[in-house]
Each structure stands twice: as C-alpha cells, then as structure tokens.
Amino acid sequence: MNGIHDLGGMHGLGPINPEQNEPVFHEDWEKRAFGLFAATFVFTGYTVDEFRHYIEKIPPAHYLEGSYYEHWLYSFEGALIKYGHITRDELDARIAQLQSGGH
C-alpha cells in the first residue's frame, strides 16, 4: 500500500542526523517492546511481512509522530487482536485504566 510509511524521496522532512553514540534503547519500555516481537511471532505465527503490514496501517498522522518502538507496539496490538489473543475492547479498557493511574 502506498501509505505514509513510504517516505522515500519525500521533500520537506529535513536532514537525517544520526545520533552520536546512540543507545540501543532510549526508554526502558522499549526493551519490553523489543521482547514482544519474539513473543508475538511465536504466539500468532505471523510473518515479518505481516508485522510490517500492521505498521503500514497506522493512521498517517500518528505514524509520523510515533517513535520506532511505538510502531512495533501498534503492530503487536494488530496481530494479537487479529489472532484472537486479545480484543480491541480489552486493549482500549487497559489503556483507559493506565491513563487513569491504574496498574
């Protein structure tokens, strides 16, 4: 699909400035997101291409504002919902719970 992920050759996005001595992870939660790739790969049986397709389906504005591992998280959610491990309602309820200060 020719969505916002296909940024190659697009004007106006500014220079690419690689971070000096970039750490593997910028936030602690990113370590858990990385680990979830192996877990969801095994549980759902999806392919790396299907993993990428869920990232393509991120709403365009969210895609541009989201970080690398946020994209991964969005993909895991898509796969876990598709394969019936969680429902959209369960995910939304959990997000609401966390936003209201719950654990």
Partner: protein
C-alpha cells in the same frame, strides 16, 4: 508454539529473515536492464513508490526470499529472487539531479520486467 529461550537468539540475530531455501530460477541476470512495474496494491508490498515505472540495472542477485505481497497476507511464500538494482538519480528524480549519483534498491523478481 511456545516461546522458549532457545528460540530467541536465532530470531533476534536474523530479524525473522524472509530468506527461504527453495531453488527457484532467477528471471534476471546481473547486468540486465529492467523496468519496474506500476505495481500499486492496497495490500502489503515492499516496492518503494518512487521506483514505479523506473528503469534500472541488476547489480547483484541476493538469492531466494519469500514474497512480501503474499507472505504478509497468509497467501504463501511465493519464493523468488531479490536483486540489488541500480537506478540513476536522474531516472528517479529528474534532470536537476547530479548526473553521477546512483541509488541501489533491493527489488523482488515480481516487481519488474526485462526492458
């Protein structure tokens, strides 16, 4: 399938590589002039949009990989060769581009035809 500790290192090292062991004849050889198809599905594909319709030269054959368009949608591996294809900046971005600049892109067999 359960996630066990011995699965993890291989998965992390390869990034769940889509390379497959099938023997499939390549459709192109190094040096072939190829035209990228105007391929624009609303499903998954790994052809950068800026390559559609462009003319390039095959530089290297990487071997056989699963085809993203089918593999992403549970439609099988459709194993085929992936190549490094060289495009001139002028072919991609027009006559204002530097005339010595080139770009190499990994392109699947099914995304192109002999020119």
């Amino acid at each position: 399938m359960l996630l066990t500790p011995e699965i993890v290192p291989g998965l992390v090292a390869t990034g769940a590589s889509a390379r497959v062991a099938h023997h499939v004849a390549p459709r192109f050889r190094v040096g072939d002039r190829v035209r990228v198809r105007n391929h624009n599905p609303d499903t998954h594909c790994r052809l950068p949009g800026y390559l559609r319709g462009k003319l390039g030269t095959v530089e290297q054959d990487y071997g056989v990989f699963a085809f993203p368009d089918t593999h992403a949608h549970n439609l099988g591996e459709k194993p085929q060769h992936v190549y490094s294809v060289r495009f001139t900046a002028r072919e991609l971005w027009g006559p204002s581009s530097p005339d010595r600049d080139t770009l190499r892109v990994d392109v699947w067999d099914d995304y192109m035809d002999l020119d």
